[in-house]
Amino acid sequence: MADLRKPIVEARGLTKRYPGVVALDRVDFALQPGEVHVLFGENGAGKSTLISILAGASTPTSGTIEIAGDPVTVFTVRNARRLGVSAVFQEFSLVPTQTVLENLVLGEEPATVGFLRRGEGRRRAEALFAALERDIDLDRPVSQLSRGEQQLVEIAKAMRGDLRVLILDEPTASLTDRETEILFGLIARLKARGVGVIYISHRIHEFQRIADRITVLRDGRHLGAVPAAGLSEEQLLAMMTGRVMGAIYPEIGRPSGPEVLKVEELSAAGVSGASFAIRAGEVTGFAGLVGSGKSRVWRAVMGLNRTLAGKVVLAGKDMTGARTNAVIAAGVHYLPPDRKNEGLVLTASASDNIALGMLGTDSLRRRAGAAIAGIAKTVGLERSTLRRLVSQLSGGNQQKVLFGKGFGRDYAIYVFDEPTVGVDMGTRAQLYRVIKWLAESGKAVVVISSDLQEVMSLSHRLLIFSAGRISAELEGEEINEAAALSRFFERKKAVA
């Protein structure tokens, strides 16, 4: 391949501004041929913005990029692919209604004057899977594949054409250990061919294995690229957060409280036979892969998904299959994971959104302003933001508003589904303090999270979901990363 000294990607002074936010602030980045370069940082640090610019999915506000010495002037995915840059994003770029084969050649279908050459397309798709050492039926619709299979299709798709740069955004998040090993083998082969790999992951042990260099981003800024060899986990975390990890997770005291919710053998879409109890004053964590059922079990309890079998008892009352408003009235608050689509009215002000949580209460009729101001103080929202439209707030402030909706009335149980997705570290620390305060004032708190560190650090008790079932229940000292991860892929149900 080309001269090994000459970077295959060289970005200088990349800046990306969104209204009210600087997502990337004068970032320099270089990738050598045959290098695995890890991008590391918290959610919202700018990793996603950087790779979306490199992949041609968005245009930088300022700064330059050179691919193999040629300056990039047109920022489209098509142009990036033409230059040999391919990306696998977290949200899959697959068309669910089409087959695996159609997806694998999508946008680059072999054709003669527009007419498909089907045999050639099939050969190419087969070759891509052969490289991955995997065999998925090419004629199955993508919508019927598991998440792991979809991920593999996505990776296979990224490898078509003359690949020079492969961008992988948390590729192992939904892969089994075996599939992860296959992916690593593939990365090694690509490396040997001189392909540069940009790899995003939160799993430190992963890139200690495969990374050559690590670039750390924090708050949209570049904190330097360092060789991966010999870097310890502590050093990395300190670089990422700018503070010693652990400090952001508060120590939550554990007064023993009565059982407030009991779920027995609950089955619903994506959940089978889940049994657990929730106690007052306790933080109960729900962990597992995306699609493991940890979130859907709560959507069934909340009446958002249909309950197929089992029983839900709330404060001694049978609430199986109850409507959402009945469950809320019975004292359960649910914070949805998708604040833009399910949580907030984006076109209304922050204070109006908070007021939505007070509907039907006395405080809304009288002294609403004072009540809203009090809630804003609790969640750490500045008063000046209250009158602004939610759509204009940063992700962190939006999440604070969403939290605030839960304090408009008195709930016994607070269920937080992905409480800190896409928010900055300062907001996270604030929201964790709110969770601590809730638990210590005797509320039952449930934290559902794909961020294992988060859910482990906050929980007194941790339930792990795998393929729709509870695969383990860990308590107190038993909660650690190795124990939790090992149960992520288990199918059998451990008796708690």
């Binding site: 697959l94 209604t97 089409q98 999508l106 279908e109 498909l116 089978s272 079998a309």
Partner: protein, 341 residues
């Protein structure tokens, strides 16, 4: 799961899943078709005769053509409510062009007809591109964009004619495209067959077809795969308008005048034909065969209701209900296809 599941429950479960599978594969059309055939055959002895069915096939040509265009737009996840307007504009403009051409080259009938057809089709494509630009470039919802164009276009057609039919163009036009035969087959049927074949080849055999399905299935994925989604949408709306325009020419030939009120209810009917034929309103799902059958089905029902002497007002009610039922079935089907996972 509960081990005490009785065998009868299991059997009914199996029957339900077989019904589900059938619905996923082919949609609800076969059921509708059988029901209609049974009801109308019982109600009227003339219904299930070769003569009548051939008649229905001939009448359904007009709906088939528009529905094919509607399908292309539906596949992208859009709508084309402006197909009726496109028909009216085509009718008026083709007639007017032919009249003016007759004053310039009175003796070349072929040239006059060609000028009328091509001019009208060019205007129709412009209408389609307007729709496409609004949807693809400015991000106007297809519903509003095509509704607006529908109103504007109808206004233009009425303004151009003052609401008076445009007559006096060469009889050869009507004789050929309205009532003519080629190798014993009505010209209208031949044109529809060619159109069906061309669209099928385009959808199933070309890159453009694949891209159309991809844009409707997941527009973000299509973009990230390097597909030019803007161009795809533009072409889709232009193709729909072009097919509606061909339809408008055939209707003009049939009624032998350029009329601004042609195509009044065809937008709704064509959407109904597509949805009944298994095209998803969410885009990305649908096949030509289904749409042709769906259009045939609607004309068949109208024919059956005519034979049963059901008045046209009541027919409108039934068509509306049928559309809504078909959409409900589509919702269920989509959930089975996509949401199951």
């Amino acid at each position: 799961m509960n081990l005490e599941t009785t065998s009868s429950a299991r059997t009914s479960f199996r029957a339900a899943s077989a019904a589900k599978l059938l619905l996923m594969r082919v949609g609800a059309l076969p059921l509708f078709l059988i029901a209609a055939l049974v009801v109308f055959t019982l109600a009227s002895p003339q219904f299930l005769t070769a003569q009548n069915i051939v008649n229905v096939a001939r009448q359904s040509v007009y709906l088939v053509l528009v529905s094919l265009g509607q399908m292309i737009v539906l596949l992208t996840g859009g709508f084309d409510l402006a197909v009726g307007t496109t028909i009216a504009l085509t009718s008026v403009i083709s007639a007017m062009i032919m009249l003016s051409a007759m004053t310039i080259v009175p003796d070349s009938v072929g040239l006059i007809i060609a000028a009328g057809c091509l001019g009208a089709m060019a205007v129709a494509v412009l209408v389609g591109l307007t729709n496409g630009t609004g949807v693809a470039v400015f991000g106007v919802s297809p519903f509003i964009m095509t509704l607006g164009v529908q109103s504007a276009g109808a206004g233009v057609a009425l303004f151009l004619t003052g609401g008076v039919p445009v007559t006096g163009f060469p009889h050869a036009f009507g004789d050929t495209f309205g009532f003519g035969r080629i190798f014993g087959v009505p010209v209208t049927v031949a044109i529809a067959v060619v159109a069906i074949a061309v669209i099928a080849i385009f959808l199933y055999g070309t890159r453009f077809g694949r891209h159309l399905y991809a844009v409707g299935g997941n527009v973000k994925a299509a973009k990230l795969s390097g597909i030019n989604t803007t161009a795809t949408l533009l072409i889709a709306y232009a193709a729909s308008a072009l097919l509606a325009s061909i339809d408008g020419l055939l209707l003009t030939a049939r009624v032998e005048s350029g009329e601004a009120n042609l195509g009044g209810t065809i937008a709704l009917q064509s959407i109904a034909a597509c949805v009944i034929g298994g095209v998803s309103l969410r885009g990305g799902i649908g096949r030509v065969e289904g749409v042709v059958l769906g259009a045939f089905f609607i004309v068949l029902i109208q024919n059956g209701m005519d034979l049963m002497q059901i008045g046209s007002y009541m027919q409108m009610v039934l068509l509306g209900v049928l559309l809504i039922v078909a959409v409900i079935v589509d919702q269920v089907r989509y959930r089975l296809l996509i949401g199951a996972n």
